[in-house]
């Protein structure tokens, strides 16, 4: 049986790991290569690197950081940040990424997802959806959550998957960095809409919070601050998962 994944996210800016709350107030959280390898040693199932200033600065994710991590890492690596065109996907794969996350550019030109899937396969293309609370429901935002849109993240996830995305990286902007637990309502809503894997992101607070969102329908759960601050390791998270019957890799 496929194991549920525990993922560590490294938000990177200027070659350093940073972490904030609700995408702002970024603080330094160390060297990305050392972080990635430590998390690997702790039993993490996948590393996600998001170059958080790439789209805002109209450039692609920093190649040197990705190459350095990719050369030493032996677990999968997903990279996002500043992907505008199909050649950007090729460049990130060539730097050592295994999967590429697309966010803002797919909303501006949704055909990009289909073109990327036709060349790289849908299993390589991750649609990154940043959702914020809006009234009784949710709406998405782009450009590292700085540009709010009036689009429904559930409908957009469904469309992105129909167009070719093979995974949804679903981030709750309101829960980002807040350590209040994942947004289970958001995860359940997207779960109803798509058949591809969902990575839940935003709000990881305790090892048990991972187990909770994985039971709610996520296929993978992603944490950043909780790992950066040393409050829990992937091993702790997996122990909590096993205790509550969530299958994880030994």
């Amino acid at each position: 049986m496929l194991a549920k994944r525990i993922i560590a996210c490294l938000d990177v800016r200027d070659g350093r790991v940073v972490k904030g709350r609700r995408f702002v107030e970024l603080r330094d959280a160390g060297d990305p290569v050392r972080r990635a390898l430590r998390y690997r040693d702790d039993g993490i199932d996948e590393i996600v690197i998001l170059d958080v200033s790439a789209t805002l600065e109209s450039r692609l994710a920093n190649r040197r950081t990705i190459e350095a991590i990719a050369a030493t890492l032996d677990v999968p690596l997903t990279v996002g940040g500043g992907v505008r065109a199909i050649d950007d996907v090729a460049r990130l794969l060539d730097a050592g990424a295994d999967k590429v996350a697309i966010n803002s550019a797919a909303l501006e030109r949704p055909e990009l997802l289909g073109e990327a899937a036709a060349r790289f396969g849908s299993q390589c293309i991750v649609i990154s959806v940043d959702a914020r609370r809006a009234g009784d429901g949710y709406a998405i935002a782009t450009h590292s959550a700085s540009r709010p849109l009036e689009r429904d993240p559930v409908a957009w996830s469904r469309e992105a998957v129909e167009r070719g995305a093979g995974e949804v990286l679903l981030t709750s902007i309101d829960r980002d960095g807040g350590r209040e637990g994942f947004d289970l309502t958001l995860v359940r809503a997207v779960r109803e809409a798509v058949r591809v894997p969902i990575v839940a992101s935003g709000g990881a607070s305790t090892p048990e919070s991972f187990a909770e969102v994985l039971r709610a329908g996520a296929d993978a759960a992603l944490g950043a601050s909780i790992f950066h601050d040393g409050d829990a390791t992937a091993r702790d998270v997996k122990e909590a998962c096993r205790t509550s019957g969530v299958p994880v890799r030994p």
Partner: protein, 199 residues
């Protein structure tokens, strides 16, 4: 020298790094004349089946790779590089595979498609070991293909996760991203190339 057949879409840096960690010298292969410089070949993963099949023809690498296989050069196919060793795939019904393994590749019927993450590779042959490996695939050969040496199961679907025929080995998972188990699969392949070379 292990040649990585680079067909534009692959995560070729990942496999290059993994082969080097196993002590192998590597180069990227982009045209037929480069195939002869290699003691072994790797067909890496991450692409659409139709795209790589088309690239094999455009670069004229198809004949060169088949010739190397028939000559007895060890070859490792990974993910779509594994699927390419079959006759064809439901991902691109009009595209032709290399036809080294009989049978075709079908769409998965796993609870989630793509089948993404870590799953158990269960050996059904003394020639292959079991272990936990990382997968990212929406397609796979059926567990019933004649050359299967390992299978993997999710939900009600069981597919072939490794196959061997002569000097050719294919794996549906990504050994370059499968921790200690993946490193062992790659080390075993690198060692087999050394044995061939010595002969």
């Amino acid at each position: 020298m292990i040649g990585i057949v680079a067909l534009g879409a692959a995560n070729r840096r990942s496999i290059e790094a993994a082969l080097r960690r196993a002590g192998a010298a590597t180069r990227f292969i982009e045209k037929p004349s480069e195939v002869g410089t290699c003691d072994a070949l790797v067909l890496p993963g991450v692409a659409n089946f139709g795209y790589v099949a088309q690239e094999l023809d455009r670069t004229e690498l198809r004949a060169a790779v088949l010739e190397a296989i028939h000559f007895g050069i060890p070859l490792l196919g990974i993910c779509v590089g594994f699927q390419l060793l079959f006759e064809g795939s439901e991902e691109a019904p009009k595209a032709r595979g290399l036809g080294v393994f009989p049978g075709t590749v079908r769409r998965l019927r796993t609870p989630r498609v793509p089948h993404m993450g870590w799953n158990l590779v269960e050996s059904c042959s003394t020639r292959f070991a079991s272990g936990w490996a990382y997968f990212a695939n929406a397609f796979a050969p059926d567990a019933s293909v004649p050359d299967a040496v390992a299978t993997t199961c999710d939900g009600d679907d069981t597919f072939a996760s490794a196959a061997v025929r002569g000097n050719v080995i294919g794996v549906q998972f990504h050994p370059e991203r499968s921790g200690i188990y993946g490193a062992a699969v790659i080390a075993s392949f690198v060692q087999s190339t050394a044995v061939t070379y010595a002969r």
